[in-house]
């Protein structure tokens, strides 16, 4: 019955209630969107690589190595010797290795030279392996496998021909026109930097950097074994036994024949996320401030209604409503408005994400799930509920006092 009274009371003050509702809707939507995007960004970030025990590259700082080898961001400062890669391949503690060679691009997308082991051993998310939507891994020298976002953005399909450019800018003055590639495979979307990567073999990276005449000669003679690079950018390493991780890391960091640095991806990723923590907190604080201003609006609306509701409170008191019930009624009203605003905000964010998901992937490479229901959002819901109850306290106390002072007289 109290719920009916609270609901009908709100309906009788439609204009102010609707404006308060809209104010809360906007602020809660911002709050949920920020929290969800933060959560999804962190999830997406953390799922970029899994199952890899060590990343080995030239000494340049843990974050830098992580950024260029996993996220295709920044530039490698130095390379490691191919012999070091061969040493890692043959190491008894190591189960698999994936070589990475970076430095070229295709229309703004990074080109990565690697081996077929990449398609076998690379893991992301919950130890998910790479899958092909179309085609298969590269076989011949000028085969290329592209990530889903590359295919979608550039409208590529199997068999299309592409040319790789020197350097990593979106516009390059030096295209390797003499060595066009044919698309051999398109990977299934992963929500990781893999989607934005153009994959070729290590031999292909070596080939496109040769003078055209020399390359032509090698191809004609079928001597692709000559296309072996002397250096590569980094190596992703999977161990036979993870207990050996720290021992091997120490060994590699002290390796005498080449300057190597081995980093644990999990540790480096945590460091990187901590760097972004300030931005994350800034977004959260802004969203909470927006909510706070709306809650003040809610409180003001309820307090402003108290004067006109003096008689209504008197009627309720004569019917046997205690001051505590009057207090409860005001809190109910606040919870009703806040609850409806929270529900509508959840629906708005979900529908927006479901509708805009393709556009977000296409334009920003953001894989945001439309399912916003996570523990973080649930905690947020509880916080919003508590904040609404707190915002309702001042008007509820005012109503309580009115109820205590009620007399059977309109004066």
């Amino acid at each position: 019955m109290l719920r009916t009274v609270a609901w009908q009371s709100l309906k009788s003050r439609k204009k102010t209630v609707v404006l308060t509702f809209l104010s809360l809707l906007v602020s809660i939507t911002v709050l949920i969107a920020v929290e969800h995007i933060r959560f999804e960004a962190k999830r997406s970030f953390n799922r970029s690589i899994s199952g890899t025990d060590l990343i080995v590259g030239a000494p340049s700082g843990e974050l830098n190595l992580l950024l260029y080898s996993v996220f295709r961001l920044g530039s490698p400062t130095n390379n490691i010797q191919l012999s070091s890669y061969n040493m890692l391949k043959e190491h008894k503690s190591i189960a698999w290795t994936i070589p990475i060679s970076l430095g070229d691009s295709h229309r703004g997308f990074r080109v990565m030279g690697t081996s077929s082991e990449y398609f076998t051993h690379y893991r992301f998310g919950e130890e998910d392996s790479l899958k092909f939507t179309h085609g298969q891994p590269f076989e011949s020298l000028f085969d290329v496998v592209i990530g889903s976002e590359v295919a979608q953005s550039l409208g590529y399909s199997l068999g299309d021909s592409i040319v790789i450019s020197h350097g990593i800018g979106s516009t390059s003055f030096k295209n390797h026109e003499h060595a066009p590639f044919a698309i051999r495979g398109i990977l299934t979307p992963t929500g990781t930097p893999v989607d934005k990567t153009v994959h070729v073999s290590l031999a292909a990276i070596e080939a496109i950097h040769l003078p055209p005449s020399q390359l032509e000669q090698i191809v004609e003679q079928g001597r692709t074994d000559l296309l072996t690079p002397s250096t590569i950018t980094a190596v992703l390493v999977g161990l036979e036994n993870r207990f050996a991780t720290f021992t091997l890391q120490r060994q590699l960091n002290n390796f005498k024949d080449d300057r190597l640095m081995a980093v644990l991806p999990g540790v480096a990723m945590t460091q990187l996320w901590q760097l972004m923590g300030n931005i994350e907190n800034l977004l959260r604080v802004t969203a909470f401030l927006v909510l706070l201003s709306s809650l003040f609006g809610l409180s003001t609306m309820l307090i402003a209604s108290m004067n006109e509701r003096r008689l209504e409170i008197a009627v309720l008191r004569t019917l046997g409503a205690s001051p505590a019930i009057i207090f409860q009624l005001i809190v109910y009203e606040a919870i009703l408005i806040g609850g409806l605003a929270f529900g509508a905000a959840c629906a708005l964010v979900s529908v927006s994400l479901a509708t805009l998901s393709d556009w977000l992937i296409q334009h920003y490479g953001l894989f945001l799930s439309a399912n916003i229901f996570s523990l973080d959002v649930a905690i947020l819901g509880v916080c919003v509920f508590v904040a609404i109850v707190l915002a309702a306290l001042a008007p509820a106390i005012e109503a309580y006092k009115n109820a205590l002072n009620t007399q059977l007289s309109p004066s």
């Binding site: 019955m1 009916t4 009274v5 009908q8 009371s9 309906k11 009788s12 008689l311 209504e312 008197a314 009627v315 309720l316 008191r317 004569t318 019917l319 046997g320 409503a321 205690s322 001051p323 505590a324 009620t406 007399q407 059977l408 007289s409 309109p410």
Partner: protein, 238 residues
């Protein structure tokens, strides 16, 4: 006119017993004082007095909405000041029906919801539909009125609905405060006849407060507020 006799102690045959009551408004220097007064069960009393004489204050005290700083008020053998505030609210919901002069009903609720609210606070779990239909007939109101909001009703209809709500829990005591002030003479007489008839059928004790002496004709028992209570300094007898 019959003045009720003072009674020395609460009696089981009385609906109201007031003894040595002192009530002081926080914003007022003088106190409202009632020494001894009682009202037999089932009696309908017309309580009159000028504005400011303390009629509404007396009703607030009798309904338990205002708490006297001193003295006792006993309603049907229940001493109000021995009850906790919550118990007093509950007692009021179950045993007292109140009709005001103007602000009787909650305007945004329907007639049915207004009446159900009284039943809800009295913690009655029974379906009141049949009771409502009987009361509508006796108060000459159409059934369709139940689903109308109060703001859609005329003043006369609102006052009849207020009576219906006051009687829905079959109260032992009815407190009526200037209910006819907004009605014209014809409507007032019709309303009074309905009120008397309805309250008699519920065997409720009624205290009808008004400053309009023309309403005395509807009552056998008349009383001036100043005969039983007064504004003055605490410690001085009435």
């Amino acid at each position: 006119m019959q003045l009720t006799t003072p009674s020395p102690s609460p009696s089981s045959s009385n609906a109201v017993d007031v003894a040595d009551v002192v009530y002081r408004y926080p914003s007022r220097q003088s106190a409202f004082l009632c020494d001894r007064w009682s009202l037999p069960k089932g009696q309908h009393t017309f309580l009159h007095g000028n504005s400011g004489s303390g009629k509404s204050t007396l009703l607030s005290l009798l309904s338990g909405i205002a708490q006297p700083q001193h003295g006792t008020i006993t309603l049907n053998n229940t001493q109000l000041n021995t009850l906790t505030p919550k118990q007093q609210d509950s007692y009021r919901a179950r045993h007292i029906g109140i009709v005001f002069q103007q602000f009787n009903l909650i305007p945004y609720l329907t007639v049915r919801q207004n009446v159900e609210l009284a039943s809800y606070f009295a913690k009655r779990s029974v379906d009141i539909t049949d009771q409502l239909l009987v009361m509508l007939a006796s108060l000459q109101l159409p059934e369709a009125i139940l689903s109308k909001t109060v703001s859609q009703l005329s003043v006369g209809q609102q006052q009849r609905v207020a009576i219906m709500r006051a009687l829905i829990n079959s109260p032992q005591l009815l407190l009526i405060d200037e209910p006819t002030s907004a009605l014209d003479a014809n409507a007032r007489d019709g309303f009074m006849q309905m009120l008397m008839s309805a309250s008699q059928s519920f065997e409720s004790t009624m205290i009808f407060v008004s400053h309009d002496p023309s309403l005395r004709q509807f009552f056998k028992h008349h009383l001036a507020v100043t005969d039983i209570c007064r504004w003055g300094e605490e410690g001085l007898s009435c």
